[in-house]
Symmetry: C2
Subunit: 496 residues, 2 copies
């Protein structure tokens, strides 16, 4: 009974699937996003920041790239009965903005947006329910020149954040070419768009699984179907071998040069108008990019890019990092995709009834950041502040004057504000702060008009319970005149 | 009946009480926050970014500074039955983090956090349900040296974003002095802290209304009570005239110098230990700040700072802008407060049962931004990109090469990607983009190997339907050799 009277304390826990970002994690991400923003800005893109909350009606019932009802979002009913939800991506808010402000925005409208999005999904390792997206889109530009621009901008952005040329490639494909292939394969009838819909759905899902199942798995799904290792059977599209060969031919159409790829695609879609249009678009994109100096070493036509082909309506692009990294088990593996996008019709049609073409790209912020860390390209010095220790708490003003001088000189510095009684605790604190230098002035030094600078970056790990005397006897410390504090710290940092 | 078959289109609307931020609004806020972050970094503060979502249990039942149940937050029940909510400030997540990671964080822990918070309140003019906060706090530092540091950092931050010295003042007060005043006035009994609780609540609320009611209104509420213009009666604290005089004396204790103020406060709290402690703290803060060169022209002791006295437990600070601005009706008014904070006990006690002292400040991001705009201090060039117009859509590659050259030179530039048929539309677009220069190359110019640069920044408003010929005849345009494009644009920008 007495138990019940125990005050119930809340658990200090991040909600399941959410996480906190500390110090250098925040700084590194910010530096990366700032670098990307500088490129987007130079390309004429304007930032847009929408609120985290949208009406469920405006968000729409489905996530854009999966067949999933809106249970994937965090939603609640507002007091005045509107259903509200946290945005699950940055494209749905863009669609709402493009419709809401259509008379005020420039057209075409180039915008970029960075920010968190939320997914109400089962969290897993490395899978969070809040994460960053970083999008750039051009709304209202029907020409594939806009798609070419997005690809060039993506290449520039990757190089600006520190991915070297030849360590990445932007691959471009086109949904219209696939549609042409489907027409040639006999599963698309331009005069009756609903015919063969089921078979086309299976074809789309099959090629989307290329990475996972390999070409033979895709071939099985294009034909009779596929039984997986567990014995489960997935129904196939029912294509004949020769029909399936056309689709496989598309996926494998990449030649030694862009021109060879385009020629091969032209053969495959011969007789399909939409297919020819798609190949023309790919050729135009390659021509426009080559004119600006973006050759196939940076951006190439690659029909094996299948991700997103089911969602996008024209050009599709994906940026892949091509260097190897070592995984947790020391095995080499490719880093893979860090960005993707494409052209999607009818961005705002849901709202206005009018078709507005749009094309855009989304960079996977966490993945790109992980890649930069893996390459050691993350530029951020994780150096902590200079710590001025407190030898005599009655002399706090003196120590704060030292800190003030260091800060005024532009140096990162702080005074120890914990209980100063244990000098060991002050050193442990400086250690935890990754402080490069500790500044010490006890009674001796005060009498001599000096301070001691301890080079912590150089020094070995500080012993748990070092006494002031033990510690002062170590190397890598200098006693300097108090008036020379700033100059001596600068010197130690420069030579540290 | 046919009406029902009309497809129901969602309205393209921001949810009530939320807003979108476009272009320069985003850039200006980011520049301001970056500048503030640079100061906080120099002071040794580390960034912390928590997720937008917390468990309701971790957030606690009350907003920190108002007597309001958690209906003020946006909350919902998670699938596994936890109640989740959007954070309503950045302090509650800090409390959770300080408890959750107490064994890993340095102690004291200096952190700053910028980001949106959400309030489920009735929106009003200029009152949104999502807005930015910008906080810095020191957790685990019992000494008022930490409070002094926050005040100095706040002054530095204001000057760094562009508020000139003497255009602001950081005022400091102390809750303990008020407690001493209450003890002397006979409404606080140190041996029985619950006694006179109701009267003290009325006193706190009364002085919190000083700005609105003036000193006579406060005096009425300290005594028998107050009847407002509408006839509503608010019950008073029931203090006698001499008791009330002590409280009024506190509010009006500010003297010509800090020393005079401290002396007056000492008189008022004579006999109250907590009151004397509070005056000592104020004196220590002033001494530490003066030692670092922060005199009363920047940071001053001011017992008339009453905002937050009910919430904080020790020093309380507020930054006020002291220059006049003109309101919508052209009347002069003071800009007022842009930041506030103070020391609060028991930040993490809810979670761990252990007391942890903390002190911090929150800058009102929107207010400070508005102040910078009012002062014309906002540094952001709202200059749009150079717009390369499309005279011949078959020559898109040529135009994109021009844009590419400009961008490679670090200039902000874009190609017109709308329908190029109407030249007027291209000019309207450039106008909407606040473009400084339009680049034009028609067949004539191509033949001559030249381009035309139109100085839009200089030019008058572009006529709605100017023809290319009319427009070319205007002044402020130059025809330059195509090879000199970048140099000529640079020259025009520099002299524009």
């Amino acid at each position: 009974m007495a138990k019940d009277k125990q005050p119930q304390r809340p658990r200090a826990e991040t909600p399941k699937g959410f996480r906190d970002y500390f110090g250098v994690e925040v700084i590194e991400r910010k530096a990366m996003l700032d670098a990307i923003a500088s490129v987007y800005h130079r390309y004429g893109f304007d930032p847009l920041e929408t609120s985290a909350v949208e009406t469920v009606a405006a968000l729409g019932k489905f996530l854009p790239d999966v067949d999933r009802p809106n249970e994937g979002v965090f939603g609640w009913q507002d007091e005045d009965s509107d259903w509200l939800a946290l945005r699950y991506d940055l494209t749905a808010p863009l669609a709402r903005v493009a419709a809401q402000y259509r008379n005020d925005l420039p057209s075409p409208y180039r915008r970029y947006a960075f920010g968190p999005v939320w997914r109400n999904e089962k969290p897993g390792p490395g899978r969070f329910r809040q994460f960053y997206q970083c999008d750039a889109d051009t709304v209202g530009a029907p020409s594939v020149a806009a798609d070419a621009e997005i690809c060039a901008m993506l290449a520039d952005a990757l190089e600006t954040v520190g991915i070297a040329r030849h360590d990445y490639v932007v691959r471009v494909n086109n949904r219209k070419v696939l549609n042409g292939v489907m027409e040639v394969a006999g599963v698309l009838d331009p005069s009756d768009p609903t015919r063969f819909e089921e078979a086309r759905g299976i074809v789309l899902r099959a090629i989307d699984k290329l990475d996972r199942l390999g070409i033979e798995g895709v071939r099985a799904l294009l034909g009779a179907g596929r039984r997986d290792a567990s014995g489960d059977f997935t129904k196939g599209a029912g294509l004949s071998d020769s029909q399936a060969e056309v689709v496989i031919g598309f996926i494998e159409a990449k030649g030694a040069t862009g021109a060879a790829t385009v020629a091969r695609l032209r053969e495959l879609v011969a007789g399909s108008q939409i297919g020819v249009d798609g190949v023309d678009e790919l050729e135009t994109i390659a021509t426009l990019l080559a004119a600006q100096g973006y050759g196939p070493d940076r951006i190439e036509i690659d029909p094996s890019v299948v991700r997103g082909l089911g969602y996008y309506t024209g050009p599709v692009f994906e940026a892949e990092l091509t260097f190897d990294i070592l995984d947790e088990k020391g095995r080499k593996r490719q880093f893979g995709s860090v960005a993707g996008g494409g052209r999607y019709d009818d961005l705002v049609k849901r709202f206005t009834g009018q078709s507005v073409p749009a094309t855009g790209v989304s960079i996977g912020v966490d993945r790109l950041l992980a890649a930069l860390r893996a390459k050691g390209q993350s530029q951020i010095a994780s150096r902590g502040p200079i710590v001025v220790t407190v030898m005599d708490k009655e002399r706090m003003a003196d120590y704060m004057i030292m800190v003030g001088e260091l800060r005024a000189a532009g140096l990162r510095a702080e005074c120890y504000f914990g209980n100063p009684k244990s000098f060991g605790n002050q050193l442990k604190y400086a250690d935890k702060r990754q402080s490069p230098i500790a500044v010490i002035q006890g009674a001796d030094e005060l009498g001599k008009g000096s301070v001691i600078l301890k080079d912590l970056a150089l020094g070995a790990k500080i012993a748990e319970n070092a006494s002031l005397e033990e510690w002062k006897s170590r190397p890598a410390q200098r006693e300097v005149a108090r008036v020379d504090l700033v100059a001596a710290v600068r010197d130690m940092l420069a030579n540290g």
